[in-house]
Amino acid sequence: MSADDESFHPLGHEAAYEEAKKNAGGFAEMLKSLGGDGEDSRRGVMKKMGAGAAVGIGAWGTTQGGDEPSVSAAEAGGSETTEQGDTQWGMTIDLERCDGCLSCVKACAQENNLDQGVNWMYVLQYEDGGPDSSRNRLVRPCQHCTDAPCEKVCPTTARHTRDKDGLVLTDYDVCIGCRYCQVACPYGVNYFQWDEPDISTEQIEEAHSDTEGHMMTDERGRWVDSRAPRGVMSKCTMCPSRQDGFSGEEKVGTSACEEMCPPDAIQFGDMKRETSDPQRYIDNPARGRALVEMNSSLPSTSGLEENLSGAGSDLESVLEASEDLDEELLTVMKAAEIVTENFGEDDADSVQYEEAILEVFDVLASHGLDLGSQEVLVELELASEPDEDEEFEGADEEAAQEALVDYSGSPSSNFKLLEDIGTNPNVVYFGNEPGPTAHQTETPVAYSDMEADRADGGSIQLVDNRKDVLDEGTVGDFGVSL
């Protein structure tokens, strides 16, 4: 796919039309979605984002298999349904921001009380023939495919897509443990429960006694969350108990792994909503990165107020007076605002970052610095000085976008894993895509260096290769392999 204007449809035509019908008064939205207009500010941004950013995300939100019958309603009277929810949980993962610390792997093991080696979330470092493989990392949760092959092959409907939010789940009460889903999954994300799990159902229940569903049964009363019982299949669930609000309203739209990721490389959210974290990241990864990166360097409002008292209100004096605010930082802060519609609004996680920036802006404004003024914008190189006979045109989005890219870099490319197989994954990666001969090497942090706490009060060392654990139970391990 090329990044030219024609091929960029944030939504495919049909889906875009559906979407537009839903948005009351959304005709303009629809046109925008169809990508046919010339004025749209976001399109300007897109051009600037460079080769990688718009590639490969053309079909967001379209469910190519949208007319596939979903079988999750099977148990309720055994009828099929073609109903599609308005939500599709998914992720973006910025591989160039991942440091391979395995925090997400650990967080997942803890949240779900997984056995050793059951790495629903898996992080790997790899070599791919290139000279520098230091940034070759892959973070691999379940891709929660829209056209999930595992679901298609399941002989029981245990593996199903939840209508309301597109999560691909396993009903532990229905699965017969044939393992065909593991066979059909191109990514290798499934982990069978070969023996009795370490942590009993009772222990999990006890640990979550005041959580509805005890982190095991979801809103529909189906047992789909936490580690699997013996003899059935398990894999990353994208935390249905959280999404159902059982862990508190604030956890809706979050996953255990994204929460624990120190560099915020994982953005979890609704892939069908334009303002969700992953969708914003897809729209403008440089902006997403910049927000995360500058967040740790933002000056505290009280500190800033203190610094500024008595100082002049022009840009130079303000920058001179404040300890933690330099021109570069202020430029990026302002640039982020310029390229963002509804800055600081909405409920995506990244809005917190925007709010923090707005708070700083408030302090500056009350000190008398007008960040929107021609003088300041030109000084920050976020607008060009008008010629004498011209009017000032305001902030320049292209310049703002450039400032963001300069600050945080723009990912080399984005991709979905094995896209040509037709699974329509709901995880979008930023960074290098591993080639067909890529092979795993050592992660900076070893699995055995990580400990995960579990519901029985104890903790375990993470294990990379589960076979090492399983071999202990094999009757007559010949120590050879086919």
Binding site: P69, V71, P155, T157, C175, G188, D195, H439, K467
Partner: protein, 452 residues
């Protein structure tokens, strides 16, 4: 050729004799099955961790292994058996009529072994009925595994009907010479029988045979079973349109080998030289040779596509296959058998029944190993093989090997038991052989006259 005339008495001999050898074989087979049942009980108690299986991917294992390999192998033998018998009936290959019923029985036995493997392979076999049947109307649209179970069940029913129908004829006519303690069984089998139905039955059997032959390439081992693998795009060791024909040749070679072995055992045990004649063995061997040739030809097709400028994933899988000692060994077995069969066709003196037995055993071993490796290879060389733990490791555990011993014991027990209840050679075959004999006698006589 023997000069003995086949008689009703001959085909009733298994029912009306009771030898020490029979008891010994029964005991050994029961022991084999029993040993596996104990092992299975242990597996049910501990979970599938007792096998050598694991999770492919980061888990460094193989999701499926001997259980599925042996499942396919048994289904192949079974499907080959019914195709053989159907061909005999449909094409009027009367020469092989004496072994047709053995082939049908082999089908039932093989399908039982395969069905058993499905249960053994499951993590939660207790849910088979509720989970699979309960959602059948939905899953049958998509899941090859459901098609599989459906087809296996359908063929079991078809074969049982087939066998049941032809048995009515025999049981009715031989009733007086059959043991009385089985009276209720015979009563049920011949319920409502009148000699008038013979013609209708013959027609029904013909149509059933036609159905079997027509559906063989699509529904049996030429279709649904290979689709379990060949339709999955991310496992290059499995994908490809050649798998259907390939599986079908494996089914036919395995089944013919199986029939050779079983026919030989009966011939020895009950002095049936005049029923399972050398001629039949020679003919079966030739057919075996023909299907071995097809088998090897399709293997070459499969391997060439991938070893010459294949896409990376396919090349890796193909290289691994052709370099694998188990693969080479199994292909060697089949090739050697083929060479022998050709040689004995040119020089009939090279034929002997023990050699035919060795050929049958070699092919069965070859096809079993090929199937076992085939299943595992998919997991060892997936398209997404970035994981350090891939290719993983797998070797069947003792319990898995025992399952093979146990199901072979089960199939032998099946024949031992059935042969005590009903004739394993049909009356029609005897009638037919006698016609031939009469015919031969006259020709012989004429020849003599000419000489004289």
């Amino acid at each position: 050729m023997s000069t003995k005339t086949p008689s009703e008495e001959d085909i009733l001999r298994p029912i009306n004799t009771f030898t020490k050898k029979y008891v010994a074989l029964y005991a050994v087979s029961a022991l084999a099955l029993g040993a596996f049942l104990v092992a299975w009980a242990y597996q049910l108690q501990q979970g599938l961790i007792v096998t050598g299986l694991g999770d492919w991917g980061s888990g460094g294992g193989s999701t499926w292994g001997l259980y599925i390999g042996a499942f396919i192998w048994w289904v192949g033998i079974a499907h080959g058996g019914i195709i053989l018998s159907a061909a005999v009936r449909l094409l009027g290959m009367d020469r092989y009529l004496p072994v047709a019923r053995l082939a049908e029985m082999l089908t039932l036995a093989g399908l039982s072994a395969a069905g058993f493997y499905i249960l053994v392979h499951m993590g939660r076999p207790d849910r088979m009925v509720t989970s699979v049947l309960g959602h059948f109307h939905i899953t049958v649209n998509n899941s090859p595994l459901v098609w599989d179970v459906t087809v296996i069940t359908a063929y079991f029913v078809m074969t049982a009907t087939y066998l049941g129908l032809t048995l009515r004829y025999d049981v009715h006519r031989l009733r007086d010479q059959l043991p009385d303690y089985l009276e209720p069984v015979y009563k049920i089998m011949t319920i409502g029988y009148t000699e008038k139905e013979d013609e209708v039955i013959e027609q029904m059997v013909w149509w059933l045979a036609l159905a079997v032959i027509i559906m063989a390439p699509l529904l049996l081992h030429g279709g649904v079973i290979p689709w379990l693998f060949s339709v999955l795009p991310a496992m290059p060791a499995w994908t490809g349109a050649v798998q259907g024909p390939q599986f079908l040749t494996i089914a036919l070679t395995s089944a013919i080998s199986g029939v050779i072995l079983i026919a030989y055992a009966f011939r020895r045990a009950y002095d049936w030289e005049h029923i399972f004649t050398d001629d039949i063995f020679r003919g079966l061997l030739l057919w075996l040779g023909f299907f071995c040739l097809l088998f090897l030809w399709l293997q070459v097709q499969q391997v060439v596509n991938g070893s010459f400028l294949g896409p990376t994933n396919k090349s890796v899988a193909t290289d691994a296959k052709i370099g694998h000692p188990v693969y080479l060994f199994s292909m060697g077995l089949v090739s050697a058998t083929l060479a022998y069969i050709f040689a004995q066709a040119i020089r009939p003196s090279l034929f002997s029944k023990p050699r035919a037995i060795v050929a049958g055993l070699a092919v069965l071993t070859g096809t079993f190993l090929e199937k076992l490796l085939f299943v595992v290879e998919g997991f060892l060389h997936p398209t997404f093989d970035i994981y350090a733990a891939t290719p993983g490791e797998y070797f069947p555990s003792i319990i898995e090997w025992l399952s093979l011993v146990g199901t072979i014991g089960m199939v032998v027990l099946f024949f031992l038991s059935l042969s005590k209840m009903v004739p394993v050679v049909e009356l029609h075959a005897i009638e037919h052989l006698n016609e031939d004999h009469a015919h031969e006698d006259t020709t012989a006589a004429t020849e003599q006259e000419v000489k004289a």
